[in-house]
Symmetry: C2
Subunit: 206 residues, 2 copies
Amino acid sequence: MKKISDSAVRRLALYQRFLQEAADAGLDTISSGDLAERGGTTSAQVRKDLSLFGSFGKRGLGYEVQELLREIREILGVDRTWKVALVGAGKIGSALFSYRDFQKRGFRISAAFDSDPAKVGSDMGGVTVRADEEMDRRLRDEGIEMVIVAVPAEAAQAVVDRVVNAGVRAILNFAPVRLRVPRGVALRNVDLTLELEGLSFALTGR
Amino acid sequence: MKKISDSAVRRLALYQRFLQEAADAGLDTISSGDLAERGGTTSAQVRKDLSLFGSFGKRGLGYEVQELLREIREILGVDRTWKVALVGAGKIGSALFSYRDFQKRGFRISAAFDSDPAKVGSDMGGVTVRADEEMDRRLRDEGIEMVIVAVPAEAAQAVVDRVVNAGVRAILNFAPVRLRVPRGVALRNVDLTLELEGLSFALTGR
């Protein structure tokens, strides 16, 4: 099957949210135009995105909300709960830990690690922060599937190498540094300053 | 001049960081291959990106680090300090406030607002959290150029409407909701759950 671009996956995730809202509001069907508006795109793009995965909707009738929602959730793999660990329990890490939207969407942070002895042993919403040295073993023992890295830039690559060695194949990185992972490991970077630089560029108006 | 894509701006910001590191390490010149590695792209793409803004580098000699760094900083508009306000002093907001990389790269959060009376008046690293009702006036009076929105999803659109009315033309949104802004206002969304959904898709391996 065709390789799906990051931007297509992103749009699918946005369609999913709109479908969930439509379902909550009791709507039965939805048009590609409505989905397009939500995804910041065109009706044609919506139809193209969905056609990558099969045949949905009927011309002139739109999409069945519940059916399409179920399909997209399955495609995205969010029709289940994922076991997530947090590495780095500093300010950003703690904020992420208590980010309600993760839990609501099936991403359950069930382990947290930090190298600062002052943080080890503390409780974050029912999860005990563990020492850095315990990380490798616990990632395996607890069957962690995704790791959120929120450590300083200079520590991030070493953490990621260990996480990968412990068998984790999906990493969300908040450290402002470019990381290397082997083929087969999914890595996403959230680079907050880069976003502000994008705004700065827009304002500078060159 | 040609419209520059978001992804090109993103790569420029990454080149900038590598150039800064190279400058700090005392390097005089750098090749497009080195920049490509940092930007996660190809030498050809680097040359294409830079050619959008003028003629840099000499064939076979690479780019002059200091010159290119200065140029890219000017292009991105990060050769100056920006006045930033934070709306929403909850966990994510507070973490962003103390995010060292913002300050280091010229984004100075000089005002903070919250609607929670318990937070109003508290000090965040020298900045006093102000009441929501003071926001519109202070954004104008203090000449705020960018706003970081870290309020709950249901409050975000109303905040953004007010921010735009107060003359701010650049918004970084952390609320998990799609916002509308008028033409001429730059909006970037950091949607943390979307990133995890991207990883979930990658692991599901469809």
